[in-house]
Amino acid sequence: MPQTITDIYLPRQAKVEQIEVENSQISTFVLAFCDHAYNDAFRYQPGQFMMVSMPHCGEAPISISSTPTRPGAIHLSVRRAGKLTAAMHGLRVGDTIGLRGPYGRPFPMEQLQKKDLLFVAGGIGLAPLRGVLDTCLDQRDQFGTLTVLYGSRTPSDIAFQTDLDMWREKGVDCRLTVDAAEPGWDAQVGLVTSLMDGLHPKLERSTALICGPPLMFRAVLGRLTAMGFRDEQVLTTMERHMKCGVGICRHCHMDGKLACVDGPVFSLAELRKLKIMEMED
Protein backbone atom coordinates (compact mmCIF):
# COMPACT_ATOMS: atom_id res chain seq x y z
CA MET A 1 0.00 0.00 0.00
CA PRO A 2 1.44 3.38 -0.91
CA GLN A 3 2.13 5.30 2.23
CA THR A 4 1.43 9.00 2.53
CA ILE A 5 4.55 11.08 2.27
CA THR A 6 4.64 14.69 3.40
CA ASP A 7 4.71 17.09 0.48
CA ILE A 8 7.99 18.77 1.28
CA TYR A 9 7.65 21.14 -1.66
CA LEU A 10 4.35 22.69 -0.63
CA PRO A 11 4.71 26.20 0.78
CA ARG A 12 2.52 27.49 3.60
CA GLN A 13 0.95 30.90 3.66
CA ALA A 14 2.54 33.50 5.88
CA LYS A 15 1.40 37.06 6.53
CA VAL A 16 3.58 40.14 6.53
CA GLU A 17 3.09 41.62 9.99
CA GLN A 18 5.61 44.41 9.83
CA ILE A 19 8.20 45.83 7.46
CA GLU A 20 11.36 47.54 8.67
CA VAL A 21 13.12 49.51 5.94
CA GLU A 22 16.83 49.07 6.65
CA ASN A 23 18.15 51.08 3.72
CA SER A 24 17.26 51.75 0.09
CA GLN A 25 18.05 48.13 -0.84
CA ILE A 26 17.36 46.13 2.31
CA SER A 27 14.16 45.62 4.27
CA THR A 28 13.33 43.28 7.13
CA PHE A 29 10.00 41.48 6.83
CA VAL A 30 8.37 40.24 10.02
CA LEU A 31 6.26 37.21 9.10
CA ALA A 32 3.89 34.79 10.79
CA PHE A 33 2.26 31.69 9.34
CA CYS A 34 -1.45 32.17 8.72
CA ASP A 35 -2.11 28.83 10.39
CA HIS A 36 -1.87 29.93 14.02
CA ALA A 37 -1.29 26.49 15.47
CA TYR A 38 1.52 25.90 12.98
CA ASN A 39 2.98 29.29 13.74
CA ASP A 40 2.96 28.60 17.47
CA ALA A 41 4.65 25.26 17.02
CA PHE A 42 7.18 26.51 14.46
CA ARG A 43 10.79 26.24 15.63
CA TYR A 44 14.09 27.07 13.97
CA GLN A 45 17.69 27.80 14.86
CA PRO A 46 19.97 30.73 14.04
CA GLY A 47 21.69 30.29 10.69
CA GLN A 48 18.85 28.36 9.08
CA PHE A 49 16.99 29.63 6.03
CA MET A 50 13.49 29.60 4.56
CA MET A 51 12.41 29.00 0.98
CA VAL A 52 10.30 32.02 0.09
CA SER A 53 7.63 31.98 -2.64
CA MET A 54 6.36 35.10 -4.35
CA PRO A 55 3.52 35.07 -6.91
CA HIS A 56 4.78 34.05 -10.38
CA CYS A 57 8.39 34.42 -9.18
CA GLY A 58 9.20 30.94 -7.92
CA GLU A 59 11.24 30.46 -4.79
CA ALA A 60 14.46 31.72 -3.28
CA PRO A 61 16.37 30.86 -0.11
CA ILE A 62 16.45 33.65 2.47
CA SER A 63 18.28 33.29 5.76
CA ILE A 64 16.33 33.88 8.93
CA SER A 65 17.50 37.04 10.67
CA SER A 66 15.54 36.67 13.89
CA THR A 67 16.21 34.70 17.04
CA PRO A 68 14.29 31.57 18.06
CA THR A 69 14.32 32.92 21.59
CA ARG A 70 11.53 35.26 20.50
CA PRO A 71 9.03 32.82 18.96
CA GLY A 72 5.90 33.72 17.05
CA ALA A 73 7.52 35.63 14.20
CA ILE A 74 10.17 35.03 11.58
CA HIS A 75 12.28 37.91 10.36
CA LEU A 76 13.67 37.80 6.84
CA SER A 77 16.03 40.61 5.89
CA VAL A 78 16.12 40.88 2.13
CA ARG A 79 18.29 42.78 -0.26
CA ARG A 80 16.90 43.66 -3.67
CA ALA A 81 18.87 41.40 -6.03
CA GLY A 82 16.65 39.61 -8.51
CA LYS A 83 13.05 39.30 -9.60
CA LEU A 84 11.77 37.62 -6.43
CA THR A 85 13.45 39.93 -3.97
CA ALA A 86 12.35 42.93 -6.01
CA ALA A 87 8.77 41.64 -5.73
CA MET A 88 9.23 41.29 -1.97
CA HIS A 89 10.13 44.94 -1.76
CA GLY A 90 6.69 45.66 -3.17
CA LEU A 91 4.99 43.84 -0.25
CA ARG A 92 2.79 45.67 2.18
CA VAL A 93 1.76 44.79 5.71
CA GLY A 94 -1.05 42.25 5.52
CA ASP A 95 0.11 40.67 2.24
CA THR A 96 0.80 36.96 2.16
CA ILE A 97 3.79 35.08 0.86
CA GLY A 98 4.68 31.38 0.69
CA LEU A 99 7.16 29.85 3.09
CA ARG A 100 8.66 26.45 3.66
CA GLY A 101 11.45 25.49 6.00
CA PRO A 102 13.42 25.91 8.15
CA TYR A 103 16.28 24.31 6.28
CA GLY A 104 20.00 23.91 6.66
CA ARG A 105 22.58 23.32 9.33
CA PRO A 106 22.42 26.15 11.89
CA PHE A 107 25.20 27.83 13.85
CA PRO A 108 26.41 25.44 16.58
CA MET A 109 25.04 27.53 19.44
CA GLU A 110 26.08 25.03 22.09
CA GLN A 111 29.69 25.15 20.97
CA LEU A 112 29.57 28.92 21.16
CA GLN A 113 28.58 29.01 24.80
CA LYS A 114 31.02 30.79 27.10
CA LYS A 115 32.89 32.04 24.03
CA ASP A 116 33.83 35.60 23.14
CA LEU A 117 32.15 36.13 19.79
CA LEU A 118 33.46 38.34 17.02
CA PHE A 119 30.88 39.07 14.33
CA VAL A 120 32.27 40.38 11.05
CA ALA A 121 29.80 41.32 8.32
CA GLY A 122 29.41 43.38 5.20
CA GLY A 123 26.11 44.72 3.86
CA ILE A 124 23.28 42.17 3.91
CA GLY A 125 25.76 39.71 5.49
CA LEU A 126 24.69 40.93 8.90
CA ALA A 127 21.24 39.33 8.39
CA PRO A 128 22.09 35.70 9.30
CA LEU A 129 24.37 36.87 12.16
CA ARG A 130 21.62 39.09 13.61
CA GLY A 131 19.73 35.99 14.79
CA VAL A 132 22.83 34.63 16.54
CA LEU A 133 23.54 37.93 18.21
CA ASP A 134 19.99 38.35 19.48
CA THR A 135 20.07 34.77 20.78
CA CYS A 136 23.23 35.61 22.71
CA LEU A 137 21.67 38.76 24.10
CA ASP A 138 18.55 36.86 25.18
CA GLN A 139 20.77 34.33 26.97
CA ARG A 140 23.38 36.87 27.97
CA ASP A 141 24.98 34.90 30.81
CA GLN A 142 25.81 31.97 28.53
CA PHE A 143 28.14 33.89 26.23
CA GLY A 144 31.30 35.96 26.63
CA THR A 145 32.00 39.35 25.08
CA LEU A 146 30.22 40.28 21.86
CA THR A 147 31.87 42.40 19.19
CA VAL A 148 30.36 43.44 15.84
CA LEU A 149 32.47 44.73 12.96
CA TYR A 150 30.21 45.96 10.19
CA GLY A 151 31.15 47.36 6.81
CA SER A 152 28.89 49.27 4.42
CA ARG A 153 29.49 51.04 1.14
CA THR A 154 28.48 54.48 2.33
CA PRO A 155 26.97 55.85 5.56
CA SER A 156 23.50 55.91 3.98
CA ASP A 157 23.90 52.23 3.07
CA ILE A 158 24.25 51.20 6.71
CA ALA A 159 21.48 48.71 7.38
CA PHE A 160 20.15 47.40 10.71
CA GLN A 161 20.71 50.82 12.35
CA THR A 162 17.97 50.15 14.93
CA ASP A 163 19.59 46.85 15.84
CA LEU A 164 23.05 48.38 16.06
CA ASP A 165 21.76 51.06 18.43
CA MET A 166 20.00 48.44 20.53
CA TRP A 167 23.02 46.18 20.61
CA ARG A 168 25.23 49.07 21.71
CA GLU A 169 22.79 49.82 24.50
CA LYS A 170 23.08 46.24 25.65
CA GLY A 171 26.83 46.42 25.79
CA VAL A 172 27.81 44.98 22.44
CA ASP A 173 31.01 46.51 21.04
CA CYS A 174 29.74 47.63 17.59
CA ARG A 175 32.27 49.14 15.22
CA LEU A 176 31.29 50.45 11.78
CA THR A 177 33.19 51.34 8.67
CA VAL A 178 32.25 52.55 5.20
CA ASP A 179 34.02 52.23 1.86
CA ALA A 180 33.29 55.84 1.01
CA ALA A 181 32.47 58.56 3.50
CA GLU A 182 29.73 61.14 3.16
CA PRO A 183 29.54 64.57 4.81
CA GLY A 184 29.00 64.12 8.53
CA TRP A 185 30.69 60.73 8.74
CA ASP A 186 33.52 60.93 11.23
CA ALA A 187 34.03 57.25 11.93
CA GLN A 188 36.14 54.66 10.15
CA VAL A 189 36.59 54.64 6.38
CA GLY A 190 38.01 51.55 4.72
CA LEU A 191 37.47 47.82 4.46
CA VAL A 192 35.99 45.97 7.39
CA THR A 193 39.45 44.54 8.02
CA SER A 194 40.56 48.04 9.02
CA LEU A 195 38.31 47.68 12.07
CA MET A 196 40.33 44.69 13.17
CA ASP A 197 43.48 46.72 13.86
CA GLY A 198 42.51 47.66 17.37
CA LEU A 199 41.19 44.24 18.39
CA HIS A 200 42.94 42.05 20.90
CA PRO A 201 40.69 39.03 21.31
CA LYS A 202 41.46 36.34 23.89
CA LEU A 203 42.21 33.76 21.24
CA GLU A 204 41.72 30.69 23.39
CA ARG A 205 38.10 31.61 24.10
CA SER A 206 37.12 33.36 20.86
CA THR A 207 35.10 32.39 17.82
CA ALA A 208 34.61 34.57 14.77
CA LEU A 209 31.41 34.52 12.68
CA ILE A 210 31.76 36.02 9.22
CA CYS A 211 29.28 36.78 6.47
CA GLY A 212 29.76 39.04 3.51
CA PRO A 213 30.67 39.25 -0.16
CA PRO A 214 33.50 36.96 -1.38
CA LEU A 215 36.14 39.69 -1.58
CA MET A 216 35.49 40.86 1.98
CA PHE A 217 35.26 37.27 3.13
CA ARG A 218 38.73 36.42 1.85
CA ALA A 219 40.28 39.56 3.30
CA VAL A 220 38.76 38.87 6.71
CA LEU A 221 39.89 35.25 6.68
CA GLY A 222 43.43 36.39 6.01
CA ARG A 223 43.36 38.80 8.91
CA LEU A 224 41.82 36.32 11.33
CA THR A 225 44.40 33.70 10.47
CA ALA A 226 47.15 36.28 10.92
CA MET A 227 45.70 37.21 14.31
CA GLY A 228 46.02 33.58 15.34
CA PHE A 229 42.46 32.26 14.93
CA ARG A 230 42.48 28.56 14.17
CA ASP A 231 40.30 27.38 11.28
CA GLU A 232 37.91 25.68 13.71
CA GLN A 233 37.34 29.03 15.43
CA VAL A 234 35.97 30.69 12.31
CA LEU A 235 32.38 30.12 11.24
CA THR A 236 30.60 31.43 8.21
CA THR A 237 27.40 31.00 6.24
CA MET A 238 27.51 30.48 2.49
CA GLU A 239 25.24 31.90 -0.16
CA ARG A 240 24.25 29.74 -3.12
CA HIS A 241 21.51 29.42 -5.69
CA MET A 242 18.97 26.88 -4.40
CA LYS A 243 15.80 25.30 -5.70
CA CYS A 244 14.70 22.48 -3.40
CA GLY A 245 16.41 23.49 -0.17
CA VAL A 246 16.47 19.90 1.00
CA GLY A 247 19.54 18.35 -0.60
CA ILE A 248 18.10 16.90 -3.80
CA CYS A 249 18.23 19.38 -6.68
CA ARG A 250 21.98 20.10 -6.28
CA HIS A 251 22.02 23.72 -7.46
CA CYS A 252 23.99 24.68 -4.34
CA HIS A 253 26.83 22.19 -4.87
CA MET A 254 30.14 23.01 -3.25
CA ASP A 255 32.71 20.41 -4.26
CA GLY A 256 30.85 17.44 -2.85
CA LYS A 257 28.94 19.34 -0.17
CA LEU A 258 25.54 20.93 -0.58
CA ALA A 259 25.05 24.36 0.95
CA CYS A 260 21.41 23.58 1.78
CA VAL A 261 21.96 20.51 3.95
CA ASP A 262 25.68 20.39 4.75
CA GLY A 263 25.55 24.16 5.35
CA PRO A 264 24.84 26.96 4.95
CA VAL A 265 26.91 27.29 8.11
CA PHE A 266 30.44 25.94 7.75
CA SER A 267 33.61 26.26 9.77
CA LEU A 268 36.66 27.52 7.98
CA ALA A 269 38.27 24.15 8.68
CA GLU A 270 35.52 22.48 6.66
CA LEU A 271 35.71 25.00 3.83
CA ARG A 272 39.47 24.62 3.48
CA LYS A 273 38.91 21.07 2.28
CA LEU A 274 36.69 22.25 -0.56
CA LYS A 275 37.57 23.54 -3.99
CA ILE A 276 35.20 26.49 -4.04
CA MET A 277 35.46 30.01 -5.34
CA GLU A 278 35.54 31.58 -1.87
CA MET A 279 38.65 29.56 -0.99
CA GLU A 280 40.58 30.35 -4.16
CA ASP A 281 43.60 32.63 -3.92
Binding site: P2, M54, P55, V246, H251, D255, I276, M277
Partner: protein
Amino acid sequence: MPHASSMADSHLLKKDHLKGFLRKLAKEYRLVAPVRNRHGDVLFTVIDDLDAVEIELSEPPQNSLKQFFLPQQEQLSTYTITPEGYDFQPTKATIPPTVYFGVHPCDLSAVLYMDVVFSRQQRDPFYLRRRQGSVLIGINCNNPSPKCFCNATGSGPFIEMGSDLQLTDLGDRFLVETGRTSGHTLTERWQGFFSPSTDKDRAARYQAFLEARGRFSRQVHVEQAIRRLEADTVPDEVFAKLSLRCQDCGGCAYLCPTCTCFTISDQPLDAVNGQRLRSWDACTFAGFTVMAGGHNPVQAKTGAIRQRFTHKLRDDVRLTGRPSCVGCGRCVGICFGGTDIVRFVERTCQGSL
Protein backbone atom coordinates in the same frame (compact mmCIF):
# COMPACT_ATOMS: atom_id res chain seq x y z
CA MET B 1 4.10 -26.48 -8.56
CA PRO B 2 6.84 -26.69 -5.98
CA HIS B 3 8.60 -23.54 -5.06
CA ALA B 4 11.32 -22.79 -2.61
CA SER B 5 10.84 -20.05 -0.10
CA SER B 6 14.29 -18.59 -0.58
CA MET B 7 14.47 -15.15 -2.24
CA ALA B 8 16.89 -16.28 -4.91
CA ASP B 9 14.33 -18.61 -6.37
CA SER B 10 14.54 -19.32 -10.10
CA HIS B 11 12.11 -20.54 -12.76
CA LEU B 12 11.88 -20.98 -16.50
CA LEU B 13 9.64 -19.00 -18.81
CA LYS B 14 9.41 -20.18 -22.41
CA LYS B 15 9.77 -17.29 -24.87
CA ASP B 16 6.58 -18.44 -26.56
CA HIS B 17 4.71 -17.59 -23.38
CA LEU B 18 6.27 -14.21 -22.69
CA LYS B 19 3.50 -12.29 -24.43
CA GLY B 20 0.88 -14.24 -22.55
CA PHE B 21 2.54 -13.43 -19.26
CA LEU B 22 2.82 -9.73 -20.15
CA ARG B 23 -0.85 -9.70 -21.15
CA LYS B 24 -1.76 -10.93 -17.69
CA LEU B 25 0.42 -8.24 -16.11
CA ALA B 26 -1.07 -5.58 -18.35
CA LYS B 27 -4.50 -6.29 -16.95
CA GLU B 28 -3.43 -5.03 -13.56
CA TYR B 29 -0.57 -2.70 -14.31
CA ARG B 30 0.40 -0.09 -16.80
CA LEU B 31 3.08 -1.75 -18.92
CA VAL B 32 6.30 -0.01 -19.97
CA ALA B 33 8.82 -1.85 -22.16
CA PRO B 34 11.40 -1.13 -24.86
CA VAL B 35 9.66 -0.83 -28.23
CA ARG B 36 11.09 -0.08 -31.64
CA ASN B 37 9.22 2.86 -33.16
CA ARG B 38 8.62 3.51 -36.84
CA HIS B 39 11.86 5.45 -37.15
CA GLY B 40 13.85 2.49 -35.92
CA ASP B 41 14.60 3.87 -32.46
CA VAL B 42 14.19 1.64 -29.41
CA LEU B 43 12.54 3.50 -26.55
CA PHE B 44 10.90 2.61 -23.26
CA THR B 45 7.27 3.19 -24.16
CA VAL B 46 3.93 2.93 -22.41
CA ILE B 47 2.23 0.02 -24.13
CA ASP B 48 -1.50 0.28 -24.63
CA ASP B 49 -1.86 -2.58 -27.08
CA LEU B 50 0.54 -5.47 -26.74
CA ASP B 51 -0.32 -6.77 -30.19
CA ALA B 52 0.49 -3.49 -31.88
CA VAL B 53 4.14 -3.35 -30.83
CA GLU B 54 7.31 -5.36 -30.99
CA ILE B 55 9.19 -5.51 -27.69
CA GLU B 56 12.92 -5.17 -28.36
CA LEU B 57 15.26 -6.69 -25.80
CA SER B 58 18.45 -7.07 -27.79
CA GLU B 59 19.35 -3.40 -28.07
CA PRO B 60 19.59 -0.94 -25.17
CA PRO B 61 16.78 1.63 -25.31
CA GLN B 62 17.74 5.22 -26.03
CA ASN B 63 15.89 6.50 -22.99
CA SER B 64 16.18 5.16 -19.47
CA LEU B 65 13.53 4.79 -16.80
CA LYS B 66 14.38 8.22 -15.42
CA GLN B 67 11.55 9.96 -17.26
CA PHE B 68 9.00 7.66 -15.65
CA PHE B 69 10.13 8.33 -12.09
CA LEU B 70 11.35 11.88 -12.56
CA PRO B 71 9.42 13.24 -15.53
CA GLN B 72 11.10 15.81 -17.72
CA GLN B 73 8.53 18.22 -16.37
CA GLU B 74 5.96 17.71 -13.64
CA GLN B 75 3.61 19.85 -11.65
CA LEU B 76 4.48 20.21 -7.98
CA SER B 77 1.58 22.45 -7.03
CA THR B 78 -0.80 25.08 -8.28
CA TYR B 79 -1.29 28.49 -6.78
CA THR B 80 -3.86 31.22 -6.74
CA ILE B 81 -3.50 34.84 -5.85
CA THR B 82 -6.65 36.31 -4.29
CA PRO B 83 -7.29 39.33 -2.11
CA GLU B 84 -7.32 36.91 0.82
CA GLY B 85 -3.88 35.56 0.08
CA TYR B 86 -1.46 33.65 -2.04
CA ASP B 87 -2.33 30.04 -1.66
CA PHE B 88 -0.82 26.77 -2.84
CA GLN B 89 -2.80 23.65 -3.59
CA PRO B 90 -1.05 20.29 -3.67
CA THR B 91 -0.97 18.41 -6.95
CA LYS B 92 -3.30 15.49 -7.01
CA ALA B 93 -1.68 13.36 -9.64
CA THR B 94 -2.52 9.71 -9.60
CA ILE B 95 0.22 7.44 -10.80
CA PRO B 96 -0.93 4.03 -12.02
CA PRO B 97 1.02 1.04 -10.71
CA THR B 98 3.41 0.16 -13.49
CA VAL B 99 5.42 -2.83 -14.61
CA TYR B 100 8.70 -1.89 -16.21
CA PHE B 101 9.67 -4.80 -18.39
CA GLY B 102 12.99 -5.46 -20.09
CA VAL B 103 15.13 -3.20 -17.94
CA HIS B 104 18.86 -3.64 -18.51
CA PRO B 105 21.20 -3.87 -15.51
CA CYS B 106 22.55 -0.35 -16.06
CA ASP B 107 19.07 1.13 -15.86
CA LEU B 108 18.19 -1.02 -12.86
CA SER B 109 21.31 0.23 -11.10
CA ALA B 110 20.24 3.74 -11.96
CA VAL B 111 16.85 3.24 -10.31
CA LEU B 112 18.57 1.94 -7.17
CA TYR B 113 20.73 5.05 -7.17
CA MET B 114 17.71 7.33 -7.63
CA ASP B 115 16.08 5.59 -4.66
CA VAL B 116 18.96 6.86 -2.55
CA VAL B 117 18.87 10.39 -3.96
CA PHE B 118 15.15 10.79 -3.40
CA SER B 119 14.98 9.36 0.09
CA ARG B 120 18.33 10.10 1.69
CA GLN B 121 18.01 13.67 2.97
CA GLN B 122 14.28 14.08 2.60
CA ARG B 123 11.68 11.75 1.19
CA ASP B 124 10.62 13.18 -2.16
CA PRO B 125 6.88 12.53 -2.40
CA PHE B 126 6.65 12.76 -6.17
CA TYR B 127 9.43 10.30 -6.90
CA LEU B 128 8.43 7.88 -4.18
CA ARG B 129 4.78 7.82 -5.22
CA ARG B 130 5.83 6.73 -8.69
CA ARG B 131 8.37 4.31 -7.36
CA GLN B 132 6.13 2.66 -4.78
CA GLY B 133 3.67 1.43 -7.36
CA SER B 134 6.30 -0.01 -9.66
CA VAL B 135 7.44 -3.52 -10.53
CA LEU B 136 10.82 -3.91 -12.19
CA ILE B 137 11.44 -6.84 -14.50
CA GLY B 138 15.06 -6.86 -15.54
CA ILE B 139 16.88 -8.57 -18.37
CA ASN B 140 20.55 -9.40 -18.18
CA CYS B 141 22.70 -8.29 -21.11
CA ASN B 142 24.05 -11.16 -23.15
CA ASN B 143 25.31 -8.82 -25.83
CA PRO B 144 26.60 -5.52 -24.48
CA SER B 145 26.51 -2.84 -27.19
CA PRO B 146 29.76 -1.27 -28.41
CA LYS B 147 29.05 1.84 -26.33
CA CYS B 148 28.57 -0.06 -23.07
CA PHE B 149 31.05 -0.16 -20.19
CA CYS B 150 28.89 -1.29 -17.27
CA ASN B 151 31.53 -3.89 -16.51
CA ALA B 152 33.75 -0.99 -15.43
CA THR B 153 31.14 0.67 -13.23
CA GLY B 154 30.01 -2.48 -11.47
CA SER B 155 26.50 -2.27 -12.86
CA GLY B 156 26.40 -5.06 -15.43
CA PRO B 157 26.28 -6.96 -17.72
CA PHE B 158 24.40 -9.18 -15.24
CA ILE B 159 22.85 -8.00 -12.03
CA GLU B 160 22.06 -9.84 -8.84
CA MET B 161 19.77 -7.34 -7.17
CA GLY B 162 17.46 -4.49 -7.84
CA SER B 163 14.65 -6.04 -9.81
CA ASP B 164 11.55 -7.92 -8.79
CA LEU B 165 12.07 -10.48 -11.53
CA GLN B 166 15.37 -10.86 -13.33
CA LEU B 167 15.42 -12.56 -16.73
CA THR B 168 18.33 -14.18 -18.55
CA ASP B 169 17.91 -15.10 -22.19
CA LEU B 170 18.82 -18.79 -22.63
CA GLY B 171 17.81 -19.15 -26.27
CA ASP B 172 14.27 -20.47 -26.41
CA ARG B 173 13.57 -19.64 -22.76
CA PHE B 174 14.26 -17.16 -20.01
CA LEU B 175 15.69 -18.07 -16.65
CA VAL B 176 13.60 -16.02 -14.24
CA GLU B 177 15.04 -15.16 -10.84
CA THR B 178 12.84 -13.66 -8.20
CA GLY B 179 14.76 -10.95 -6.47
CA ARG B 180 12.14 -9.64 -4.10
CA THR B 181 8.99 -10.66 -2.35
CA SER B 182 6.96 -8.80 -4.96
CA GLY B 183 8.64 -10.81 -7.71
CA HIS B 184 7.82 -13.92 -5.81
CA THR B 185 4.22 -12.92 -5.68
CA LEU B 186 4.16 -12.54 -9.46
CA THR B 187 5.57 -15.99 -10.20
CA GLU B 188 3.18 -17.54 -7.72
CA ARG B 189 0.19 -15.63 -8.95
CA TRP B 190 0.77 -16.70 -12.56
CA GLN B 191 2.61 -19.90 -11.81
CA GLY B 192 1.16 -21.60 -14.87
CA PHE B 193 3.64 -19.70 -17.04
CA PHE B 194 6.68 -20.91 -15.15
CA SER B 195 8.39 -24.25 -14.88
CA PRO B 196 11.13 -25.24 -12.46
CA SER B 197 14.70 -24.50 -13.45
CA THR B 198 17.46 -27.05 -13.18
CA ASP B 199 21.14 -26.85 -12.37
CA LYS B 200 21.72 -27.04 -16.10
CA ASP B 201 19.75 -23.84 -16.63
CA ARG B 202 21.69 -22.11 -13.91
CA ALA B 203 24.91 -23.31 -15.50
CA ALA B 204 23.71 -21.92 -18.82
CA ARG B 205 23.07 -18.58 -17.12
CA TYR B 206 26.59 -18.58 -15.76
CA GLN B 207 27.96 -19.45 -19.18
CA ALA B 208 25.99 -16.59 -20.73
CA PHE B 209 27.41 -14.27 -18.08
CA LEU B 210 30.99 -15.33 -18.84
CA GLU B 211 30.43 -14.84 -22.55
CA ALA B 212 28.78 -11.46 -22.06
CA ARG B 213 31.68 -10.32 -19.92
CA GLY B 214 34.04 -11.15 -22.75
CA ARG B 215 32.04 -9.15 -25.31
CA PHE B 216 32.83 -5.62 -24.12
CA SER B 217 34.59 -3.79 -26.89
CA ARG B 218 35.95 -0.97 -24.78
CA GLN B 219 38.00 -0.90 -21.63
CA VAL B 220 37.18 2.12 -19.51
CA HIS B 221 39.30 2.45 -16.39
CA VAL B 222 36.63 3.92 -14.16
CA GLU B 223 38.22 2.59 -10.97
CA GLN B 224 41.44 4.38 -11.72
CA ALA B 225 39.65 7.66 -12.43
CA ILE B 226 37.80 7.29 -9.13
CA ARG B 227 41.09 6.82 -7.29
CA ARG B 228 42.64 9.83 -8.95
CA LEU B 229 39.67 12.05 -8.21
CA GLU B 230 39.69 10.96 -4.58
CA ALA B 231 43.44 11.59 -4.38
CA ASP B 232 42.95 14.94 -6.15
CA THR B 233 45.59 14.09 -8.73
CA VAL B 234 43.54 14.87 -11.83
CA PRO B 235 45.33 17.77 -13.53
CA ASP B 236 43.26 20.94 -13.92
CA GLU B 237 44.17 20.80 -17.58
CA VAL B 238 41.97 17.74 -18.06
CA PHE B 239 38.91 19.70 -16.96
CA ALA B 240 39.99 22.81 -18.84
CA LYS B 241 40.43 20.96 -22.13
CA LEU B 242 37.21 19.02 -21.84
CA SER B 243 35.23 22.11 -20.91
CA LEU B 244 36.57 23.95 -23.93
CA ARG B 245 34.78 21.40 -26.08
CA CYS B 246 31.54 21.20 -24.14
CA GLN B 247 28.84 22.59 -26.38
CA ASP B 248 26.47 23.33 -23.54
CA CYS B 249 23.58 21.28 -24.88
CA GLY B 250 22.79 19.44 -21.65
CA GLY B 251 22.28 16.24 -23.62
CA CYS B 252 24.52 14.20 -21.32
CA ALA B 253 22.48 15.11 -18.27
CA TYR B 254 19.11 14.65 -19.94
CA LEU B 255 19.95 11.21 -21.30
CA CYS B 256 21.85 10.06 -18.22
CA PRO B 257 19.77 7.62 -16.17
CA THR B 258 21.27 8.95 -12.93
CA CYS B 259 21.40 12.70 -13.56
CA THR B 260 18.62 13.84 -11.28
CA CYS B 261 19.36 17.55 -10.92
CA PHE B 262 16.21 19.56 -11.41
CA THR B 263 14.97 23.08 -11.26
CA ILE B 264 11.70 24.46 -9.94
CA SER B 265 9.94 27.34 -11.63
CA ASP B 266 6.58 29.03 -11.67
CA GLN B 267 4.49 29.14 -14.80
CA PRO B 268 1.74 31.75 -14.69
CA LEU B 269 -1.50 30.52 -16.26
CA ASP B 270 -3.15 33.92 -15.97
CA ALA B 271 -2.75 36.94 -13.71
CA VAL B 272 -3.94 35.13 -10.59
CA ASN B 273 -3.31 31.45 -11.29
CA GLY B 274 -0.20 29.49 -11.93
CA GLN B 275 1.54 26.22 -11.50
CA ARG B 276 4.83 25.31 -9.94
CA LEU B 277 6.82 22.98 -12.14
CA ARG B 278 9.83 20.85 -11.62
CA SER B 279 11.91 20.11 -14.70
CA TRP B 280 15.21 18.50 -15.58
CA ASP B 281 18.27 20.66 -15.29
CA ALA B 282 21.97 20.15 -15.89
CA CYS B 283 24.92 21.16 -13.74
CA THR B 284 26.88 21.98 -16.89
CA PHE B 285 24.74 25.06 -17.54
CA ALA B 286 26.13 28.33 -16.21
CA GLY B 287 22.60 29.27 -15.17
CA PHE B 288 22.47 26.26 -12.87
CA THR B 289 24.46 28.03 -10.20
CA VAL B 290 24.06 31.70 -11.04
CA MET B 291 22.56 33.68 -8.17
CA ALA B 292 20.08 36.53 -8.23
CA GLY B 293 22.06 39.59 -9.22
CA GLY B 294 24.28 37.66 -11.62
CA HIS B 295 27.10 36.41 -9.40
CA ASN B 296 28.13 32.84 -10.19
CA PRO B 297 30.14 30.95 -7.56
CA VAL B 298 31.06 28.34 -10.19
CA GLN B 299 33.31 30.30 -12.46
CA ALA B 300 33.63 29.45 -16.11
CA LYS B 301 32.81 26.20 -17.78
CA THR B 302 35.69 24.36 -16.14
CA GLY B 303 34.07 24.43 -12.72
CA ALA B 304 30.81 23.02 -14.08
CA ILE B 305 32.53 20.18 -15.93
CA ARG B 306 34.59 19.39 -12.84
CA GLN B 307 31.39 19.22 -10.83
CA ARG B 308 29.77 16.83 -13.30
CA PHE B 309 32.51 14.22 -13.22
CA THR B 310 33.49 14.70 -9.60
CA HIS B 311 29.91 14.21 -8.52
CA LYS B 312 29.49 11.00 -10.45
CA LEU B 313 32.85 9.45 -9.77
CA ARG B 314 33.89 10.74 -6.38
CA ASP B 315 31.01 12.21 -4.35
CA ASP B 316 28.58 9.42 -5.15
CA VAL B 317 31.23 6.80 -4.47
CA ARG B 318 31.63 8.38 -1.03
CA LEU B 319 27.86 8.31 -0.61
CA THR B 320 26.88 4.89 -1.94
CA GLY B 321 30.15 3.03 -2.35
CA ARG B 322 29.89 3.00 -6.12
CA PRO B 323 29.94 5.54 -8.93
CA SER B 324 26.63 6.89 -10.17
CA CYS B 325 27.83 6.40 -13.72
CA VAL B 326 26.24 3.09 -14.70
CA GLY B 327 28.24 2.61 -17.89
CA CYS B 328 25.31 2.78 -20.31
CA GLY B 329 27.26 4.93 -22.79
CA ARG B 330 24.30 7.14 -23.64
CA CYS B 331 26.23 10.36 -23.01
CA VAL B 332 29.00 9.13 -25.27
CA GLY B 333 26.54 8.83 -28.12
CA ILE B 334 24.83 12.17 -27.61
CA CYS B 335 27.79 14.41 -26.79
CA PHE B 336 28.42 17.08 -29.42
CA GLY B 337 31.91 17.99 -28.46
CA GLY B 338 33.53 14.96 -26.91
CA THR B 339 33.12 15.95 -23.28
CA ASP B 340 31.58 12.65 -22.25
CA ILE B 341 32.53 10.60 -19.22
CA VAL B 342 34.53 8.03 -21.20
CA ARG B 343 36.78 10.76 -22.53
CA PHE B 344 37.13 12.14 -19.06
CA VAL B 345 38.20 8.75 -17.73
CA GLU B 346 40.58 8.19 -20.62
CA ARG B 347 42.26 11.57 -20.22
CA THR B 348 42.40 11.20 -16.48
CA CYS B 349 44.16 7.89 -16.81
CA GLN B 350 46.66 9.06 -19.39
CA GLY B 351 50.20 9.33 -18.09
CA SER B 352 51.62 7.83 -14.96
CA LEU B 353 49.98 7.94 -11.55
